[in-house]
């Protein structure tokens, strides 16, 4: 088999990068609290790097790692608290290893990287900071020769059969080195007898001369290193004692999993650590390959969309069925391919404790970083893109946000400020926020700076609301710092952050109150490339709205349209919702057209309605970056190639909010209050028609409602199911309502409900409205359990369902069916 050295090298770089990242996080944790497990994990990481570096003969990495191991072992033996200087030394070593590994393809440059200074620093720190020296087994020769020998033997790769044997028997696999020239008066026959006994006990796997390590010319070195490979139920010390020989050194090449105390010894990893077996189910794939897979999938989705459109126009039912199947498969494929590039945010978050530590040290502040939601997964391409913006934001939080310790103490706060980096899933998006408990936003100062730097006029600044003033922070050239430092002050921060996040189809906002800290919120899509969108048309042009921002689509009732302060608004369920006209965004206004619908959009900061003429479809679109000229319009996040091959612009919900100069979400409440609409909405019911029966149920969150083709509802055995986004969803039967089924008017809407992670569907002939009024229920004891009662709406009787009970019964029926199926 041919080994692809390039792939091996890339794998080495990736693995080393991860291990260094983890080592850095461990060191920072150890600064707060020293835990023996931290040492174990750190030593294992460094040891693995050293072992892997041996494959490429990266001597400087090996030496540095080796010295680092010695340093850590000394610290562990001494069991002393780690000073800032010791942690600094450790971090410097990690940085140096990182630099060396980055130059793995350039041996000349790598050779130019100094490591002796760091090694000397570790030796000095080790000597001054630690009293106890490590104990070596047997008569070890002078340190440098011994170290060299140890480094060499740690690099060795043992035959797979030995590892397999040790794993199978759950034994230690031990590599022992003795010096044949330094065994006193021992004779050849005596040695032979010892090894014969060892062989009989079944412990001896192999023995021989370490040919390359025969240091015959060096009086300081071992004369004739000779190795033994043993496997044993007990630890190496017991076997060695039984052997009665002077030992130079030993390593474990495998340790049984059930013996945690053994983990204290360095382990030669060689890709065979205790959790290696678990990882064997994973395969490393080059990112380029994944990217090309995603590109190809994007093209398949486009082709699928075009094909579906063509087939819809033909009347061939057989072909339509095949296309539907193909469509599900493509969606499934796309979903799976997207998942291959997902990575936990924790990998990114672990870079930041050090950043906070260093920024705090440089600015004379004290700061602790708390992270939440590191387990949330995000497209790797997005993680790479948000890394730099997050560095800016976190630095700013420490540098601009937190006060000096003495100021904090005076204000009754803890001297160490808290910076919280959190991630959460919200409405299909990932919301990452960086919050500090510092001085918050000083709006007057921001106004003054913006005017002084000539970024806004004095008049505009005076009239601007706090909301608008916080937007000044995103202006190019804005900085609240008077002097330029390595951390901040150049005013190239938040504007770059916003433009980078925008490129990803996301948004960034700042909120904060004086004295109460500030919060920067990034709202970003979970995956790039393919988005599920609502396609709308207005002024003869098509637009695409990402579904993650959509709350609902509403038909405009003219009498509910209001004009307040020359701005259009809509009275939606006793609240005023600001409206933005899609056509006006790019001057498409057509006198003959009038918007009849609006979509309610919500971002972290804005909540508004976007009007348009008609809804065309929902479609999965492939996101394409806008050309340079299109980027000037801040209301579009990209373009999409539609099924018919034409292009539609993707609307950016947050960008439109800013462009239309909307107030934050608090504004609609203010307007509502001005209109003295003080009625509290206590209950909300969804009203729909099921054939000739009016039905309602109480909703906590508005459920998803889809238009469906009644033909997609199938009856399998004794129940109805529907295909929805590549899932088979059971339909909750409403036959108990006794509705007179109108065969010529089949149910055209599907209400998607969720309970205990499962989806259920309710079929409706027509969705009527959301009722925001208190309803009076008439309930009879003889009513069915699925019915809460009856009420009157607009002089018509409405059956109010108990949805929880209905879903529970559906679930129980499914359970009973399973039990019956499982019965012999």
């Amino acid at each position: 088999m041919e080994i692809n050295l390039k792939e091996v090298k890339e794998s080495f770089i990736t693995t080393t990068h991860d291990l260094l990242q983890r080592s850095e996080a461990l060191l920072l944790e150890m600064e707060r609290q020293v835990n023996p497990e931290h040492y174990t994990e750190l030593l294992r990481a460094v040891h693995t790097i050293k072992g892997n570096a041996g494959i490429f003969e990266l001597d400087s990495v090996i030496h540095l790692c080796h010295a680092f191991e010695t340093f850590l072992e000394e610290l562990r033996t001494a069991a002393v608290p780690l000073s800032t200087e010791l942690i600094d030394t450790g971090l410097t070593v990690i940085d140096r290893i990182r630099s060396l590994v980055a130059l793995v393809d350039d041996p000349q440059k790598m050779a130019a990287v100094q490591v002796q200074d760091v090694i000397a620093a570790m030796e000095n720190r080790g000597k001054t900071g630690v009293a106890a020296k490590p104990v070596q087994t047997g008569n070890a020769p002078e340190k440098s020769e011994f170290d060299r020998l140890r480094a060499h033997t740690q690099k060795l790769r043992l035959p797979e059969k030995y590892l397999e044997l040790a794993r199978r028997n759950n034994h230690y696999l031990i590599f022992v080195v003795i010096d044949l020239g330094d065994q006193g008066n021992l004779s050849l026959s005596q040695l032979h007898a010892k090894f014969k006994a060892l062989h009989k006990s079944g412990n001896l796997l192999s023995l021989g001369v370490l040919r390359k390590e025969t240091i015959t010319d060096n009086p300081a070195g071992p004369f004739m290193p000779y190795f033994l490979i043993l496997h044993s139920e007990g630890r190496a010390e017991a076997v060695i004692e039984k052997l009665g020989l002077k030992i130079l050194l030993f390593h474990y090449f495998w340790q049984p999993e059930h013996k945690p105390e053994a983990a204290a010894e360095p382990v030669h990893d060689g890709g065979r650590s205790a959790d290696a077996q678990a990882k064997e189910t994973h395969l490393k794939v080059h990112l380029d390959l994944l990217n090309s897979l995603i590109d190809i999938t994007g093209e398949i989705v486009l082709t699928r969309n075009a094909l579906v459109r063509r087939i819809e126009q033909s009347q061939d039912q057989g072909l339509a069925a095949f296309t539907k199947k193909l469509s599900y498969l493509v969606t499934d494929l796309q979903d799976k391919v997207m998942k291959t590039r997902l990575q936990a945010l924790g990998t990114l978050f672990q870079r930041f404790p050090r950043l906070v530590r260093e920024t705090a040290a440089a600015t004379g502040k004290k700061a602790n970083l708390h992270t939440v939601g590191g387990e949330i997964e995000l497209d790797k391409a997005i993680i790479d893109e948000i890394a730099d913006p997050l560095v800016h934001i976190i630095r700013n939080a420490v540098d601009h946000g937190l006060e000096l310790p003495e100021v904090r103490a005076k204000n009754g706060k803890d001297e160490a400020g808290a910076v919280t980096l959190s991630a959460a899933m919200r409405e299909g998006n990932i919301v990452i926020s960086v919050e500090d408990d510092g001085g918050g936003l000083d709006y007057e100062q921001i106004r003054a700076i913006a005017v002084r730097k000539g970024l806004v006029s004095r008049e505009a600044a005076t009239e601007a609301s706090e909301q608008e003033v916080s937007e000044y922070l995103f202006l190019p050239g804005f900085s609240t710092k008077a002097e330029i430092t390595t951390i901040s002050g150049r005013g190239v921060g938040m504007d770059v952050v916003r433009s980078n996040i925008k490129k990803l189809g996301g948004s960034v906002e700042i909120i904060g109150a004086p004295g109460k800290g500030s919060k920067v919120i990034l709202n970003i899509p979970q995956t790039l490339s393919i988005l599920t969108c609502l396609v709308v048309e207005t002024g003869g042009a098509r637009f695409v709205i990402p579904q993650q921002n959509i709350l609902e689509v509403v038909t405009i009732e003219k009498e509910k349209l209001k004009t307040i302060q020359n701005k259009e608004a809509y009275e939606l369920r006793s609240k005023l919702l600001p409206l933005v006209d899609t056509a006006a965004l790019i001057d498409l206004k057509n006198e003959n057209s009038s918007a009849s619908l609006f979509v309610v959009l919500r971002t972290e900061k804005y909540h508004y309605g976007l009007t348009f003429e008609r809804v065309l479809d929902t479609e999965e679109v492939v996101v394409k970056a806008l050309p340079q000229f299109g980027q000037e319009q801040q209301v579009f996040s990209g373009a999409a190639i539609m099924g018919d091959g034409k292009i539609a612009l993707i609307l950016d919900a947050a960008g439109i909010g800013r462009h239309a100069n909307l107030q934050a979400t608090t504004t609609d409440r203010t307007i509502a209050q001005n209109r003295q609409l003080t009625e509290l909405i206590e209950e909300q019911h969804l009203l729909f028609r099921f054939h000739n029966v009016l039905v309602a149920f109480k909703v906590v969150e508005i459920p998803r409602i889809e238009s469906i083709d009644p033909k997609t509802v199938e009856t399998i055995v004794d129940r109805q199911v529907v295909h929805y986004r590549n899932e088979v969803i059971p339909i909750i039967p409403l036959s108990f309502l006794g509705a007179a089924v109108e065969a010529d008017k089949p149910e055209g809407s599907l209400i998607i409900l969720q309970s205990a992670g499962r989806k259920y569907g309710l079929l409706a002939s027509e969705i009527i409205d959301l009722l925001n009024q208190k309803i009076e229920l008439r309930h009879d004891d003889n009513d069915r359990a699925e019915i809460d009662g009856f009420t009157i709406v607009d002089d018509q009787t409405v059956v109010v369902l108990n949805l929880a009970r209905l879903m529970h019964m559906q679930m129980n029926q499914a359970g009973e069916r399973k039990l019956l199926e499982a019965a012999p």
């Binding site: 010096d179 044949l180 020239g181 330094d182 065994q183 008066n185 021992l186 004779s187 050849l188 026959s189 005596q190 040695l191 032979h192 090894f195 014969k196 023995l207 021989g208 001369v209 040919r211 025969t214 015959t216 009086p219 004369f223 004739m224 000779y226």
Partner: protein
């Protein structure tokens, strides 16, 4: 030309590019580094293409002698010099079982 030499208790002679070394008691009692130094002396100052070492042992050897001879065999092999060993059959067998024979081009068992 045949040249008979003596270094400590060690006997050796050279013939053209070949060096013949014989070891017997009390050579076997020498310290590791001393024995190594003597052997190095025996090989210095000339181009050697083959070394033959004959041991007059009684079926066993001190381990330090074995280590010196094995180290010498490896050193010579790395310089493309053939090293042959003549030992008792018992010693030869033990050397084989301990995986020490690879240092030598040939091991001849002598009675």
């Amino acid at each position: 030309m045949l040249c008979l030499l003596k270094r400590g208790t060690l006997n050796f002679f050279r013939k053209k590019n070949n060096t013949f070394i014989t070891l017997e008691e009390p050579d076997f009692s020498a310290e590791t580094r001393k024995l190594w130094g003597d052997l190095m002396f025996a090989l210095e100052g000339q181009d050697v293409s083959q070394v033959t070492i004959q041991l007059y042992d009684n079926g066993d050897l001190p381990l330090r002698v074995v280590s010196v001879l094995t180290a010498l065999g490896l050193k010579l092999a790395s310089s493309s010099v053939q090293c042959d060993l003549k030992v008792s059959s018992q010693t030869a067998q033990m050397l084989r079982r301990l995986n020490l024979t690879s240092a030598f081009a040939n091991i001849t068992e002598v009675q």
